[in-house]
């Protein structure tokens, strides 16, 4: 009796380690391949602008494991989060309003498209006129770019709400705030999350752009400074840090999404 039992338990353990190995492989496989080909490239070709991975790694350690982390990375991160939060609030709020009202949508759409088409770098001077050259401008620049994917996705998500569900709400007198809370936000949830994810990477891009103007600190500013100073490995290490930052933030967002949209994933949606 004990024989088969132990065997089975060993089996379970074997499959568990197997599964962990598989997970590690799926997460790290492609990046590892990329690094290897990068190394290969830099060994066969001498290129001032593409230093070898080892050189960049060294620059990374030297550059970022220092007081720069406090002086440059943290302020950048704070501005990014502030801008992102602002954009999320404005994007979802405005998006719900616009998505629910065809009139408002018709009136607001060209105006929004107008602003959306204006590249943030040319908008910077204007924002600077209004918000000064402090952190306010940077936060606004970040928000002004992040808001679009959130806004558009929210509008689309709200417009695509299931008609039968909307009717159900109307019938049971579920109106206004509780309609928002119980129907509109969860119903548009998957689309809103898509927008939030898009916005995150745009936010990082704009964090860099905003620090290119009227700045004297920040991750983006430092990268640009390295670029201008032709400190190429340091510059790449900064770009790498941006990628890492984006990755970590995206992971956090995904955890949030898992929680918020558990009903969506559990339903079998997305198993394709």
């Amino acid at each position: 009796m004990t024989g088969p039992e132990t065997v089975r338990r060993k089996d379970v353990r074997a499959t568990r380690t197997g599964r962990t190995a598989l997970r590690v492989l799926t997460v790290a496989g492609v990046p590892a391949l990329l690094v290897i080909s990068w190394q290969l490239y830099s060994t066969v070709s001498e290129n001032f602008y593409v230093p070898a991975p080892g050189r960049v790694a060294r620059a990374f350690a030297e550059t970022w494991f220092s007081e720069r982390l406090l002086d440059d990375v943290l302020p950048s991160l704070a501005r990014l989060l502030a801008g992102y939060a602002l954009a999320a609030a404005a994007g979802v709020g405005l998006g719900v309003a616009i998505g629910l009202s065809p009139r408002l949508r018709a009136a607001a759409e060209p105006v929004l498209e107008f602003f959306r088409a204006i590249p943030p770098p040319v908008l910077v001077p204007l924002i600077m006129l209004l918000a000064g050259i402090g952190d306010g401008t940077k936060v606004l620049v970040i928000a002004s770019g992040c808001v679009w994917p959130i806004l558009l996705n929210t509008v689309e998500g709200v417009r695509a709400l299931d008609e039968v569900l909307s009717d159900t709400c109307r019938m049971y007198g579920v109106r206004d705030l509780s309609r928002l809370r119980h129907l509109v936000l969860p119903g548009a949830g998957p689309q809103i999350m898509a927008g939030l994810r898009q916005a995150l990477s745009i936010g990082i891009i704009l964090m860099v752009i905003s620090e290119m103007f009227a700045s004297s600190s920040g991750l983006g500013f430092t990268i640009v400074l390295f670029q201008r100073g032709f400190q190429i490995p340091e510059m790449w290490s900064g770009i790498l840090l941006l990628g890492l930052l984006g990755y970590v933030l995206a992971l956090l967002l995904r955890r949030l999404e898992r929680r918020v949209l558990s009903w969506h994933h559990g339903r079998g949606v997305g198993r394709a």
Binding site: R103, A106, V111, R116, A117, E156, P190
Partner: protein, 260 residues
């Protein structure tokens, strides 16, 4: 639908009109100095003057060409990649970390690379435009592919629809609303990067004209060009919207448009 178009145009024009009035008011009465933000009427006058020059049209043409080409490349590549990643089980997990890592790397950080590879030419613009707009579409496609209805999916499987048919008849239409949003996002981002590339790298086009006006202190001309960029954006959006109404006629978001 016919009534719908008139309705949209009327309200849209009202919205833009309101914006102009607000802009005029801000600089004439408001907190901002007229010299740094000229009133809307003067910007429009300068725009009219600019529009009469051939240079502007050449610049605009160059920008639009870089934009269209870059957007087309990014869109096709992203849709194809997204469909493959989204439909092959396991691939999504395997690429997730890489996608999330590469995506937030700002295109602007690629400028040295772009200059190195292509110099101040169309190639640089394309590199930046394609890189930035690719992710926009890809993420939307991935979300769209994940949204396939379970019952519809089972239906397709039980009728033995091949992988390709499933993509064509089930996955693609489901993802289409997301893709259209992605296209609209990407169209704008591509346009922004086309101009930014010209601004920063100095490839020829509207962005370079803006940069020239800016560095010469010609504020009114600069804002006129910025307004032009905005108007191009409005036009591009109207085009994508029209396309969307055609291809998404069945979708609740579009069919709910007609007053029921």
């Amino acid at each position: 639908m016919r009534r719908g178009t008139g309705f949209r145009v009327a309200y849209g024009a009202a919205g833009l009109g309101g914006l102009l009035v607000a802009l005029e008011a801000v600089s004439r009465l408001g907190p901002v100095d007229e010299r740094f933000l000229p009133p809307a009427s003067e910007i429009l006058r300068a725009l009219a003057a600019e529009l009469a020059t051939a240079d502007l049209w050449t610049a605009l043409g160059e920008t639009m060409w870089g934009w269209a080409l870059g957007l087309a490349i990014a869109f096709c590549a992203a849709v194809a990649t997204g469909m493959v990643i989204g439909s092959v089980p396991g691939l999504r997990a395997a690429t997730h970390s890489t996608v999330e890592f590469l995506r937030p790397i700002p295109s602007v950080a690629l400028i040295p690379l772009a200059t190195l590879l292509f110099g101040a030419s169309l190639g640089s613009t394309l590199l930046l435009v394609v890189y930035a707009s690719f992710w926009q579409v890809l993420i939307q496609v991935l979300y769209g592919v994940a949204d396939v209805d379970a019952v519809a999916h089972d239906t397709a499987r039980s009728y033995g629809l091949s992988a390709w048919s499933r993509i064509r008849h089930l996955v693609w239409p489901t993802a289409l609303p997301y893709v259209m949003t992605g296209l609209r996002l990407a169209a704008a981002v591509a346009f922004i990067l086309a101009i930014t590339a010209e601004l920063v790298v100095g490839s020829p086009g509207l962005g370079l004209s803006i940069q020239a006006a800016q560095s010469a202190g010609a504020v009114t001309t600069m804002y006129a060009l910025v307004v032009l960029a905005g108007l191009v954006g409005v036009a591009v959006n109207a085009g994508v919207r029209a396309l969307e109404r055609r291809v998404l006629a069945w979708h609740p978001s579009v069919r709910g448009e007609a007053p029921r």
